[in-house]
Amino acid sequence: MYDFAYHKPASIADAVALLAGDPEARPLAGGQTLIPVLKQRLNKPSKLIDLSGLGLNRISVSGNALSIGAMTPHATVANSADVQRAIPALAKLAGGIGDNQVRNRGTIGGSLANNDPAACYPAAVLGLGATVVTNKRRIAADDFFQGMFTTALEPGEIITEVVFPLPVEKAAYMKFAQPASRFALVGVFVAKGPAGVRVAVTGAGQNGVFRQREMEAALTARFAPDAIANIKTPPDQLNSDIHGSAEYRSHLITVMAKRAVAAAA
């Protein structure tokens, strides 16, 4: 790992100023992706700005929204009584990311800002029609994810919280985990809530997480597994690698979506 200067600001304003003053500075959330990347010397930041001192780790429920602070670790989301009550599928998804040790450090904001094409959280945020709140603005999930490892975040922009609209009537996430990494070979989040019926797919798309709109239409008409049994996702837009071909991933999307609908219904 190349060396860097480490800063742990105590306010969002200080964090933003540190990032704005140096284009080579990078924010550090839980570090469960960034630190391995730095070890491989794939990135050479001048400064790491640790966001753990900004108080961005609160979970709260108001009448029509569940809000999760950006620096909340996956384990906290998984074990939160508020999350379990409001959106049990979201708590379950968080409890299935990586392993216990990764879940104790990795954060929702870090996962979203990284937008790994096989990460779990992007599927929940897109599938639930959540809003990503930053120090500058509120970004709808549909506008936030912009391709593999690419988001709407501008340089120096920090995610502060993620707001999920309530009430969620039905929701479930089904992941076919890559056996070594536990990342999603294919993961499908199905939800029926204030944002309508949504089907978000992670792990499969060449451009990262995406909505399967044909399935959404079919499930809006009738929310049942067999309503989508014959809907195929064209493989030409899907990933193909040593873990699975595009055709295999296409097949898995339908299987996982059906299982998610069955679990949610």
């Binding site: 790992m1 060396d3 860097f4 742990k8 391995p36 040790q101 990764v102 450090r105 070594a180 536990r182």
Partner: protein, 165 residues
Amino acid sequence: MPQVTLTVNGKRHTVEVEGRTLLVELLREKLGLTGTHVGCDTSQCGACVVHVNGDSVKSCTMLALQADGASVTTIEGLAKPDGTLHPMQEMFREHHALQCGFCTPGMVMSAIDLVNKHPEGLTEAQIREGLEGNLCRCTGYHNIVKAVAAAWPLMHGKTMPAAAE
């Protein structure tokens, strides 16, 4: 060089580190606590697991500076000063839950966190899933799972609730 102040196994230390110094490097190279192992160095194997403020973490995937102000427990901090082993260590010995022993420190630290956080009891499946982040290349998992189940009543001071069996 920046300084980090942390408590390790009950003892307070202030150490000079680089920004890039990992927590495991601080423990092994600066404090001489070589019980915490580095296996894969890619946050897969769990040989480096320690507790930071009571939570198990992979110390190869945390910067030393991120542990500033924290309380860290390593495998060396488990036994009592008179040498009495922690119940989890004792059950690993009792059930022969180790072969080469390389994964053992991380396995024990993860297992203690798992048992601490499940006062309602643990099924065998939950124990196996809970140790997903620790790899044993001797594939000695079966006895490890037995040891964790045996340590649960000792750590909670009661028999495992029947519902969890």
